[in-house]
Symmetry: C2
Subunit: 223 residues, 2 copies
Amino acid sequence: MAQGTSRRARSENSKEQILQAALRLAVERGYEGTTMADVSAESGLPIGSVYWHFKNKEQLFVELLEHCHAEWLKIHSGPIAVRDKVTRGIAGQVREDPGGYSREEALLKVAMILALDKRLGGLGEDSEVRRTYIRIRSKMFEVNVRHLADSLPGDVVEAFPELPEKLAVLSLALTDGFYVHANSAIRIDFAEYADLAALALEGLVDRYVKLARERKSISTAAG
Amino acid sequence: MAQGTSRRARSENSKEQILQAALRLAVERGYEGTTMADVSAESGLPIGSVYWHFKNKEQLFVELLEHCHAEWLKIHSGPIAVRDKVTRGIAGQVREDPGGYSREEALLKVAMILALDKRLGGLGEDSEVRRTYIRIRSKMFEVNVRHLADSLPGDVVEAFPELPEKLAVLSLALTDGFYVHANSAIRIDFAEYADLAALALEGLVDRYVKLARERKSISTAAG
DNA sequence: GTCTATAGGCCGATAGAC
DNA sequence: GTCTATCGGCCTATAGAC
Protein backbone atom coordinates (compact mmCIF):
# COMPACT_ATOMS: atom_id res chain seq x y z
CA MET A 1 0.00 0.00 0.00
CA ALA A 2 1.43 3.38 -1.00
CA GLN A 3 2.23 6.22 1.39
CA GLY A 4 -0.68 8.42 2.34
CA THR A 5 -3.22 5.65 2.12
CA SER A 6 -5.39 6.33 5.12
CA ARG A 7 -6.36 3.65 7.58
CA ARG A 8 -9.96 4.29 6.58
CA ALA A 9 -9.23 3.77 2.90
CA ARG A 10 -7.37 0.54 3.58
CA SER A 11 -10.26 -0.71 5.66
CA GLU A 12 -12.73 0.05 2.90
CA ASN A 13 -10.42 -1.70 0.50
CA SER A 14 -10.36 -4.82 2.68
CA LYS A 15 -14.13 -4.82 2.89
CA GLU A 16 -14.40 -4.53 -0.87
CA GLN A 17 -11.93 -7.37 -1.33
CA ILE A 18 -13.99 -9.58 0.96
CA LEU A 19 -17.20 -8.76 -0.88
CA GLN A 20 -15.61 -9.53 -4.24
CA ALA A 21 -14.26 -12.82 -2.93
CA ALA A 22 -17.66 -13.72 -1.49
CA LEU A 23 -19.27 -12.88 -4.81
CA ARG A 24 -16.94 -15.12 -6.81
CA LEU A 25 -17.51 -18.01 -4.43
CA ALA A 26 -21.26 -17.53 -3.98
CA VAL A 27 -21.84 -17.61 -7.73
CA GLU A 28 -20.05 -20.95 -7.93
CA ARG A 29 -21.09 -22.63 -4.70
CA GLY A 30 -24.19 -20.96 -3.28
CA TYR A 31 -24.74 -19.91 0.32
CA GLU A 32 -24.27 -23.18 2.20
CA GLY A 33 -21.42 -24.14 -0.10
CA THR A 34 -19.46 -20.99 0.66
CA THR A 35 -17.69 -21.17 4.02
CA MET A 36 -16.24 -18.24 5.89
CA ALA A 37 -12.87 -19.99 5.69
CA ASP A 38 -13.22 -20.07 1.88
CA VAL A 39 -14.03 -16.36 1.79
CA SER A 40 -11.02 -15.68 3.99
CA ALA A 41 -8.72 -17.72 1.74
CA GLU A 42 -10.11 -16.28 -1.51
CA SER A 43 -9.80 -12.71 -0.29
CA GLY A 44 -6.32 -13.28 1.07
CA LEU A 45 -7.37 -11.86 4.44
CA PRO A 46 -7.53 -13.84 7.67
CA ILE A 47 -10.87 -14.98 8.95
CA GLY A 48 -10.68 -12.58 11.86
CA SER A 49 -10.79 -9.68 9.41
CA VAL A 50 -13.87 -11.07 7.77
CA TYR A 51 -15.60 -11.15 11.15
CA TRP A 52 -14.37 -7.69 11.91
CA HIS A 53 -16.05 -6.23 8.82
CA PHE A 54 -19.17 -8.38 8.97
CA LYS A 55 -21.00 -9.44 12.10
CA ASN A 56 -21.63 -12.94 10.74
CA LYS A 57 -22.07 -14.93 7.57
CA GLU A 58 -25.66 -13.84 7.13
CA GLN A 59 -24.73 -10.17 7.33
CA LEU A 60 -21.96 -10.70 4.78
CA PHE A 61 -24.49 -12.02 2.27
CA VAL A 62 -27.00 -9.30 3.06
CA GLU A 63 -24.40 -6.66 2.27
CA LEU A 64 -23.29 -8.59 -0.80
CA LEU A 65 -26.83 -8.50 -2.18
CA GLU A 66 -27.18 -4.79 -1.45
CA HIS A 67 -23.79 -4.10 -3.00
CA CYS A 68 -24.75 -5.88 -6.22
CA HIS A 69 -28.14 -4.24 -6.30
CA ALA A 70 -26.58 -0.79 -6.14
CA GLU A 71 -24.37 -1.68 -9.12
CA TRP A 72 -27.33 -3.06 -11.03
CA LEU A 73 -29.32 0.14 -10.51
CA LYS A 74 -26.42 2.23 -11.83
CA ILE A 75 -26.42 0.28 -15.08
CA HIS A 76 -30.12 -0.19 -15.62
CA SER A 77 -31.54 3.20 -16.34
CA GLY A 78 -33.73 4.28 -19.22
CA PRO A 79 -36.25 2.31 -21.26
CA ILE A 80 -35.47 -1.07 -22.77
CA ALA A 81 -37.33 -2.96 -25.49
CA VAL A 82 -38.79 -6.39 -24.77
CA ARG A 83 -36.36 -7.95 -27.21
CA ASP A 84 -33.30 -6.47 -25.51
CA LYS A 85 -34.63 -7.27 -22.06
CA VAL A 86 -34.97 -10.94 -22.89
CA THR A 87 -31.82 -11.42 -24.95
CA ARG A 88 -29.66 -9.45 -22.54
CA GLY A 89 -31.05 -11.32 -19.58
CA ILE A 90 -30.51 -14.76 -21.07
CA ALA A 91 -27.05 -13.92 -22.37
CA GLY A 92 -26.04 -12.58 -18.97
CA GLN A 93 -27.18 -15.63 -17.06
CA VAL A 94 -25.49 -18.05 -19.36
CA ARG A 95 -22.13 -16.59 -20.18
CA GLU A 96 -19.31 -18.54 -18.64
CA ASP A 97 -16.69 -15.94 -18.08
CA PRO A 98 -13.64 -17.53 -16.49
CA GLY A 99 -12.28 -14.20 -15.34
CA GLY A 100 -15.35 -13.34 -13.32
CA TYR A 101 -18.75 -11.84 -13.93
CA SER A 102 -19.64 -8.32 -14.82
CA ARG A 103 -21.45 -6.57 -12.04
CA GLU A 104 -24.57 -6.40 -14.10
CA GLU A 105 -24.74 -10.18 -14.32
CA ALA A 106 -23.53 -10.76 -10.81
CA LEU A 107 -26.65 -9.67 -8.99
CA LEU A 108 -28.89 -11.80 -11.16
CA LYS A 109 -26.69 -14.83 -10.64
CA VAL A 110 -26.35 -14.39 -6.91
CA ALA A 111 -30.02 -13.57 -6.57
CA MET A 112 -30.94 -16.71 -8.46
CA ILE A 113 -28.74 -18.87 -6.31
CA LEU A 114 -30.03 -17.40 -3.08
CA ALA A 115 -33.59 -17.72 -4.33
CA LEU A 116 -33.27 -21.46 -4.45
CA ASP A 117 -30.74 -22.13 -1.74
CA LYS A 118 -32.93 -23.59 0.95
CA ARG A 119 -32.16 -23.03 4.61
CA LEU A 120 -30.43 -19.69 4.20
CA GLY A 121 -28.98 -18.68 7.51
CA GLY A 122 -30.28 -21.84 9.10
CA LEU A 123 -33.96 -21.01 9.21
CA GLY A 124 -35.07 -20.58 5.64
CA GLU A 125 -37.96 -18.19 5.17
CA ASP A 126 -37.17 -16.07 8.19
CA SER A 127 -33.51 -15.37 7.49
CA GLU A 128 -32.46 -11.80 6.87
CA VAL A 129 -30.65 -12.86 3.69
CA ARG A 130 -33.94 -14.09 2.31
CA ARG A 131 -35.84 -10.97 3.31
CA THR A 132 -33.17 -8.82 1.65
CA TYR A 133 -33.32 -10.94 -1.48
CA ILE A 134 -37.10 -10.61 -1.65
CA ARG A 135 -36.94 -6.83 -1.17
CA ILE A 136 -34.30 -6.39 -3.86
CA ARG A 137 -35.99 -8.67 -6.34
CA SER A 138 -39.20 -6.74 -5.99
CA LYS A 139 -37.32 -3.44 -6.51
CA MET A 140 -35.63 -4.82 -9.65
CA PHE A 141 -38.99 -5.96 -10.87
CA GLU A 142 -40.56 -2.53 -10.45
CA VAL A 143 -37.70 -0.95 -12.37
CA ASN A 144 -38.13 -3.46 -15.18
CA VAL A 145 -41.86 -2.81 -15.38
CA ARG A 146 -41.28 0.93 -15.61
CA HIS A 147 -38.62 0.59 -18.29
CA LEU A 148 -40.72 -1.77 -20.37
CA ALA A 149 -43.68 0.58 -20.07
CA ASP A 150 -41.53 3.41 -21.42
CA SER A 151 -40.50 1.31 -24.41
CA LEU A 152 -44.03 0.30 -25.47
CA PRO A 153 -46.29 2.47 -27.66
CA GLY A 154 -48.24 4.85 -25.45
CA ASP A 155 -51.68 3.91 -26.72
CA VAL A 156 -51.11 0.20 -25.97
CA VAL A 157 -50.08 0.87 -22.40
CA GLU A 158 -53.10 3.13 -22.02
CA ALA A 159 -55.41 0.43 -23.30
CA PHE A 160 -53.70 -2.36 -21.33
CA PRO A 161 -52.04 -0.86 -18.26
CA GLU A 162 -51.08 -4.29 -16.92
CA LEU A 163 -49.17 -5.28 -20.07
CA PRO A 164 -45.71 -4.05 -18.95
CA GLU A 165 -46.01 -6.05 -15.75
CA LYS A 166 -47.04 -9.16 -17.61
CA LEU A 167 -44.13 -8.83 -19.99
CA ALA A 168 -41.75 -8.24 -17.11
CA VAL A 169 -42.91 -11.44 -15.41
CA LEU A 170 -42.59 -13.48 -18.58
CA SER A 171 -39.19 -12.12 -19.53
CA LEU A 172 -37.91 -12.68 -16.00
CA ALA A 173 -39.29 -16.22 -16.02
CA LEU A 174 -37.52 -16.91 -19.31
CA THR A 175 -34.26 -15.48 -18.00
CA ASP A 176 -34.52 -17.59 -14.85
CA GLY A 177 -35.55 -20.64 -16.81
CA PHE A 178 -32.53 -20.46 -19.08
CA TYR A 179 -30.29 -20.09 -16.08
CA VAL A 180 -31.66 -23.39 -14.77
CA HIS A 181 -31.15 -24.92 -18.18
CA ALA A 182 -27.56 -23.71 -18.25
CA ASN A 183 -27.01 -25.66 -15.03
CA SER A 184 -28.30 -28.87 -16.53
CA ALA A 185 -25.63 -29.75 -19.03
CA ILE A 186 -27.93 -30.04 -22.03
CA ARG A 187 -25.97 -27.84 -24.39
CA ILE A 188 -27.98 -25.51 -26.60
CA ASP A 189 -27.31 -22.39 -28.62
CA PHE A 190 -28.48 -19.78 -26.15
CA ALA A 191 -28.25 -16.90 -28.62
CA GLU A 192 -30.68 -18.67 -30.91
CA TYR A 193 -33.05 -19.36 -28.05
CA ALA A 194 -32.79 -15.81 -26.82
CA ASP A 195 -34.02 -14.71 -30.24
CA LEU A 196 -36.80 -17.25 -30.21
CA ALA A 197 -37.94 -16.20 -26.74
CA ALA A 198 -37.85 -12.55 -27.78
CA LEU A 199 -39.88 -13.44 -30.87
CA ALA A 200 -42.51 -15.17 -28.76
CA LEU A 201 -42.91 -12.14 -26.49
CA GLU A 202 -42.94 -9.72 -29.41
CA GLY A 203 -45.72 -11.79 -30.89
CA LEU A 204 -47.64 -11.23 -27.69
CA VAL A 205 -47.02 -7.49 -27.87
CA ASP A 206 -48.19 -7.40 -31.50
CA ARG A 207 -51.40 -9.07 -30.49
CA TYR A 208 -52.06 -6.42 -27.84
CA VAL A 209 -51.10 -3.62 -30.22
CA LYS A 210 -53.70 -4.87 -32.70
CA LEU A 211 -56.30 -5.17 -29.98
CA ALA A 212 -55.61 -1.64 -28.82
CA ARG A 213 -55.89 -0.21 -32.35
CA GLU A 214 -59.14 -2.09 -32.96
CA ARG A 215 -60.64 -0.78 -29.75
CA LYS A 216 -59.59 2.71 -30.66
CA SER A 217 -61.08 2.63 -34.14
CA ILE A 218 -64.32 1.23 -32.74
CA SER A 219 -64.61 3.91 -30.09
CA THR A 220 -63.66 6.60 -32.62
CA ALA A 221 -66.31 5.35 -35.04
CA ALA A 222 -68.87 5.19 -32.24
CA GLY A 223 -67.99 8.56 -30.71
CA MET B 1 -47.64 -55.44 10.69
CA ALA B 2 -50.12 -58.24 10.04
CA GLN B 3 -49.35 -61.92 10.14
CA GLY B 4 -47.86 -63.37 7.02
CA THR B 5 -46.00 -60.18 6.13
CA SER B 6 -42.67 -61.51 5.00
CA ARG B 7 -39.40 -60.10 6.22
CA ARG B 8 -38.69 -59.11 2.65
CA ALA B 9 -41.95 -57.19 2.30
CA ARG B 10 -41.36 -55.35 5.55
CA SER B 11 -37.90 -54.40 4.41
CA GLU B 12 -39.22 -53.04 1.11
CA ASN B 13 -41.83 -51.15 3.08
CA SER B 14 -39.14 -49.54 5.25
CA LYS B 15 -37.17 -48.52 2.20
CA GLU B 16 -40.25 -46.97 0.64
CA GLN B 17 -40.99 -45.09 3.87
CA ILE B 18 -37.48 -43.71 3.89
CA LEU B 19 -37.72 -42.60 0.26
CA GLN B 20 -41.03 -40.87 0.88
CA ALA B 21 -39.64 -39.12 3.93
CA ALA B 22 -36.56 -38.03 1.98
CA LEU B 23 -38.81 -36.73 -0.80
CA ARG B 24 -40.92 -34.63 1.55
CA LEU B 25 -37.83 -33.13 3.15
CA ALA B 26 -35.82 -32.64 -0.04
CA VAL B 27 -38.63 -30.67 -1.67
CA GLU B 28 -38.69 -28.31 1.30
CA ARG B 29 -35.03 -28.08 2.23
CA GLY B 30 -32.86 -29.25 -0.66
CA TYR B 31 -29.90 -31.60 -0.47
CA GLU B 32 -27.64 -29.86 2.01
CA GLY B 33 -30.62 -28.83 4.10
CA THR B 34 -31.83 -32.40 4.52
CA THR B 35 -29.82 -34.30 7.12
CA MET B 36 -29.79 -38.04 7.57
CA ALA B 37 -31.05 -37.46 11.12
CA ASP B 38 -34.02 -35.56 9.66
CA VAL B 39 -34.80 -38.39 7.26
CA SER B 40 -34.60 -40.83 10.12
CA ALA B 41 -36.98 -38.77 12.26
CA GLU B 42 -39.43 -38.07 9.42
CA SER B 43 -39.59 -41.73 8.41
CA GLY B 44 -39.97 -42.87 12.00
CA LEU B 45 -37.09 -45.30 11.55
CA PRO B 46 -33.77 -45.09 13.36
CA ILE B 47 -30.75 -43.76 11.52
CA GLY B 48 -29.15 -47.19 11.48
CA SER B 49 -31.97 -48.46 9.27
CA VAL B 50 -31.45 -45.61 6.85
CA TYR B 51 -27.80 -46.60 6.51
CA TRP B 52 -28.76 -50.24 6.19
CA HIS B 53 -30.93 -49.54 3.14
CA PHE B 54 -28.70 -46.88 1.58
CA LYS B 55 -24.92 -46.88 1.54
CA ASN B 56 -24.76 -43.17 2.20
CA LYS B 57 -26.59 -39.90 1.76
CA GLU B 58 -25.56 -39.57 -1.88
CA GLN B 59 -26.92 -43.01 -2.74
CA LEU B 60 -30.20 -42.19 -1.01
CA PHE B 61 -30.69 -39.20 -3.29
CA VAL B 62 -29.62 -41.09 -6.39
CA GLU B 63 -32.30 -43.70 -5.70
CA LEU B 64 -34.81 -40.98 -4.85
CA LEU B 65 -34.29 -39.40 -8.26
CA GLU B 66 -34.61 -42.72 -10.05
CA HIS B 67 -37.71 -43.58 -8.04
CA CYS B 68 -39.41 -40.31 -9.02
CA HIS B 69 -38.32 -40.66 -12.64
CA ALA B 70 -39.95 -44.07 -12.90
CA GLU B 71 -43.21 -42.58 -11.60
CA TRP B 72 -42.98 -39.67 -14.01
CA LEU B 73 -42.53 -42.00 -16.98
CA LYS B 74 -45.62 -43.98 -15.98
CA ILE B 75 -47.74 -40.84 -16.08
CA HIS B 76 -46.28 -39.09 -19.09
CA SER B 77 -47.19 -41.14 -22.10
CA GLY B 78 -48.85 -40.05 -25.30
CA PRO B 79 -48.73 -36.72 -27.13
CA ILE B 80 -49.37 -33.42 -25.42
CA ALA B 81 -50.18 -30.03 -26.93
CA VAL B 82 -47.89 -27.06 -26.32
CA ARG B 83 -50.61 -25.34 -24.36
CA ASP B 84 -51.11 -28.25 -21.98
CA LYS B 85 -47.39 -28.80 -21.61
CA VAL B 86 -46.86 -25.25 -20.45
CA THR B 87 -49.94 -24.83 -18.28
CA ARG B 88 -49.56 -28.23 -16.64
CA GLY B 89 -45.88 -27.63 -15.97
CA ILE B 90 -46.39 -24.22 -14.41
CA ALA B 91 -49.36 -25.34 -12.33
CA GLY B 92 -47.44 -28.34 -11.04
CA GLN B 93 -44.42 -26.34 -9.96
CA VAL B 94 -46.42 -23.73 -8.18
CA ARG B 95 -49.13 -25.55 -6.31
CA GLU B 96 -48.63 -25.45 -2.58
CA ASP B 97 -50.11 -28.68 -1.42
CA PRO B 98 -49.79 -28.95 2.35
CA GLY B 99 -50.48 -32.68 2.31
CA GLY B 100 -47.63 -33.46 -0.01
CA TYR B 101 -46.98 -33.46 -3.72
CA SER B 102 -48.30 -35.75 -6.37
CA ARG B 103 -45.65 -38.00 -7.79
CA GLU B 104 -45.90 -36.25 -11.12
CA GLU B 105 -44.90 -32.96 -9.56
CA ALA B 106 -42.40 -34.45 -7.20
CA LEU B 107 -39.71 -35.30 -9.71
CA LEU B 108 -39.85 -31.86 -11.27
CA LYS B 109 -39.56 -30.20 -7.88
CA VAL B 110 -36.76 -32.40 -6.64
CA ALA B 111 -34.96 -32.16 -9.96
CA MET B 112 -35.18 -28.39 -9.85
CA ILE B 113 -33.82 -28.22 -6.35
CA LEU B 114 -30.96 -30.55 -7.08
CA ALA B 115 -30.20 -28.68 -10.30
CA LEU B 116 -29.37 -25.61 -8.31
CA ASP B 117 -28.14 -27.04 -5.06
CA LYS B 118 -24.44 -26.44 -5.38
CA ARG B 119 -21.93 -28.81 -3.84
CA LEU B 120 -24.08 -31.92 -4.06
CA GLY B 121 -22.31 -34.71 -2.27
CA GLY B 122 -19.44 -32.43 -1.43
CA LEU B 123 -17.86 -32.17 -4.85
CA GLY B 124 -20.40 -30.50 -7.06
CA GLU B 125 -20.11 -31.43 -10.71
CA ASP B 126 -18.59 -34.82 -10.08
CA SER B 127 -21.11 -36.16 -7.60
CA GLU B 128 -23.17 -39.17 -8.55
CA VAL B 129 -26.35 -37.35 -7.56
CA ARG B 130 -25.58 -34.72 -10.14
CA ARG B 131 -24.75 -37.22 -12.86
CA THR B 132 -28.02 -39.02 -12.17
CA TYR B 133 -29.93 -35.77 -12.30
CA ILE B 134 -28.35 -34.85 -15.63
CA ARG B 135 -29.13 -38.26 -17.11
CA ILE B 136 -32.76 -38.16 -15.97
CA ARG B 137 -33.35 -34.61 -17.08
CA SER B 138 -32.08 -35.44 -20.53
CA LYS B 139 -34.37 -38.50 -20.69
CA MET B 140 -37.36 -36.39 -19.65
CA PHE B 141 -36.43 -33.85 -22.27
CA GLU B 142 -36.33 -36.47 -25.04
CA VAL B 143 -39.76 -37.73 -24.01
CA ASN B 144 -41.14 -34.19 -24.09
CA VAL B 145 -39.71 -33.54 -27.54
CA ARG B 146 -41.26 -36.72 -28.89
CA HIS B 147 -44.67 -35.97 -27.38
CA LEU B 148 -44.68 -32.41 -28.68
CA ALA B 149 -43.69 -33.65 -32.13
CA ASP B 150 -46.67 -36.00 -32.09
CA SER B 151 -49.02 -33.17 -31.22
CA LEU B 152 -47.90 -30.79 -33.99
CA PRO B 153 -49.26 -30.90 -37.56
CA GLY B 154 -47.19 -33.34 -39.59
CA ASP B 155 -46.32 -30.94 -42.40
CA VAL B 156 -44.90 -28.37 -39.97
CA VAL B 157 -42.64 -30.90 -38.29
CA GLU B 158 -41.53 -32.07 -41.71
CA ALA B 159 -40.69 -28.52 -42.78
CA PHE B 160 -39.05 -27.64 -39.43
CA PRO B 161 -37.75 -30.82 -37.80
CA GLU B 162 -36.10 -28.86 -34.99
CA LEU B 163 -39.33 -27.14 -33.93
CA PRO B 164 -40.44 -29.71 -31.30
CA GLU B 165 -37.07 -29.45 -29.60
CA LYS B 166 -37.21 -25.67 -29.59
CA LEU B 167 -40.68 -25.70 -28.09
CA ALA B 168 -39.61 -28.23 -25.48
CA VAL B 169 -36.71 -26.02 -24.42
CA LEU B 170 -38.91 -22.92 -24.22
CA SER B 171 -41.71 -24.61 -22.34
CA LEU B 172 -39.26 -26.16 -19.91
CA ALA B 173 -37.58 -22.80 -19.41
CA LEU B 174 -40.95 -21.22 -18.67
CA THR B 175 -41.85 -23.97 -16.22
CA ASP B 176 -38.52 -23.60 -14.45
CA GLY B 177 -38.75 -19.83 -14.52
CA PHE B 178 -42.12 -19.80 -12.82
CA TYR B 179 -40.82 -22.17 -10.21
CA VAL B 180 -38.13 -19.63 -9.39
CA HIS B 181 -40.75 -16.91 -9.33
CA ALA B 182 -42.89 -18.93 -6.95
CA ASN B 183 -39.93 -18.96 -4.57
CA SER B 184 -39.60 -15.20 -4.62
CA ALA B 185 -42.68 -14.09 -2.78
CA ILE B 186 -43.98 -11.79 -5.50
CA ARG B 187 -47.52 -13.07 -5.64
CA ILE B 188 -49.05 -13.39 -9.08
CA ASP B 189 -51.95 -15.26 -10.62
CA PHE B 190 -50.12 -18.25 -12.03
CA ALA B 191 -53.10 -19.58 -13.95
CA GLU B 192 -53.32 -16.31 -15.85
CA TYR B 193 -49.61 -16.38 -16.60
CA ALA B 194 -49.74 -20.00 -17.64
CA ASP B 195 -52.31 -18.97 -20.25
CA LEU B 196 -50.21 -16.04 -21.35
CA ALA B 197 -47.10 -18.19 -21.69
CA ALA B 198 -49.04 -20.79 -23.65
CA LEU B 199 -50.39 -18.02 -25.89
CA ALA B 200 -46.87 -16.79 -26.59
CA LEU B 201 -45.67 -20.25 -27.60
CA GLU B 202 -48.78 -20.91 -29.68
CA GLY B 203 -48.07 -17.67 -31.49
CA LEU B 204 -44.66 -19.06 -32.32
CA VAL B 205 -46.18 -22.28 -33.61
CA ASP B 206 -48.64 -20.33 -35.76
CA ARG B 207 -45.77 -18.45 -37.29
CA TYR B 208 -44.05 -21.69 -38.24
CA VAL B 209 -47.28 -23.20 -39.55
CA LYS B 210 -47.70 -20.23 -41.86
CA LEU B 211 -44.10 -20.48 -43.00
CA ALA B 212 -44.50 -24.19 -43.75
CA ARG B 213 -47.69 -23.61 -45.75
CA GLU B 214 -46.09 -20.80 -47.72
CA ARG B 215 -43.09 -22.92 -48.57
CA LYS B 216 -45.37 -25.72 -49.65
CA SER B 217 -47.49 -23.57 -51.93
CA ILE B 218 -44.36 -22.09 -53.46
CA SER B 219 -42.79 -25.47 -54.16
CA THR B 220 -46.13 -26.77 -55.48
CA ALA B 221 -46.46 -23.79 -57.82
CA ALA B 222 -42.87 -24.17 -58.96
CA GLY B 223 -43.04 -27.97 -59.38
C1' DG C 1 -7.57 -2.93 12.61
C1' DT C 2 -5.19 -7.42 11.75
C1' DC C 3 -4.32 -11.98 12.70
C1' DT C 4 -4.04 -16.88 15.21
C1' DA C 5 -5.83 -20.35 17.83
C1' DT C 6 -9.53 -22.65 19.41
C1' DA C 7 -14.16 -23.35 21.45
C1' DG C 8 -18.55 -25.35 20.52
C1' DG C 9 -22.08 -27.37 17.64
C1' DC C 10 -23.80 -30.11 13.93
C1' DC C 11 -23.50 -33.80 10.58
C1' DG C 12 -22.25 -38.10 8.14
C1' DA C 13 -21.00 -42.47 9.08
C1' DT C 14 -19.85 -46.72 11.85
C1' DA C 15 -19.62 -50.26 15.55
C1' DG C 16 -21.82 -53.47 17.78
C1' DA C 17 -25.79 -55.18 20.88
C1' DC C 18 -30.11 -57.40 20.03
C1' DG D 1 -32.73 -56.50 9.86
C1' DT D 2 -33.31 -53.07 13.60
C1' DC D 3 -31.67 -49.87 16.75
C1' DT D 4 -28.40 -46.93 20.00
C1' DA D 5 -24.34 -44.76 21.14
C1' DT D 6 -20.56 -42.45 19.58
C1' DC D 7 -16.51 -40.89 16.77
C1' DG D 8 -14.15 -37.80 13.71
C1' DG D 9 -14.49 -33.87 10.71
C1' DC D 10 -15.98 -29.53 9.25
C1' DC D 11 -17.98 -24.95 10.05
C1' DT D 12 -19.36 -20.67 12.48
C1' DA D 13 -17.96 -17.65 15.64
C1' DT D 14 -15.07 -15.69 19.44
C1' DA D 15 -11.11 -14.58 22.52
C1' DG D 16 -7.24 -12.29 22.84
C1' DA D 17 -2.23 -11.14 21.32
C1' DC D 18 -0.19 -7.66 18.50
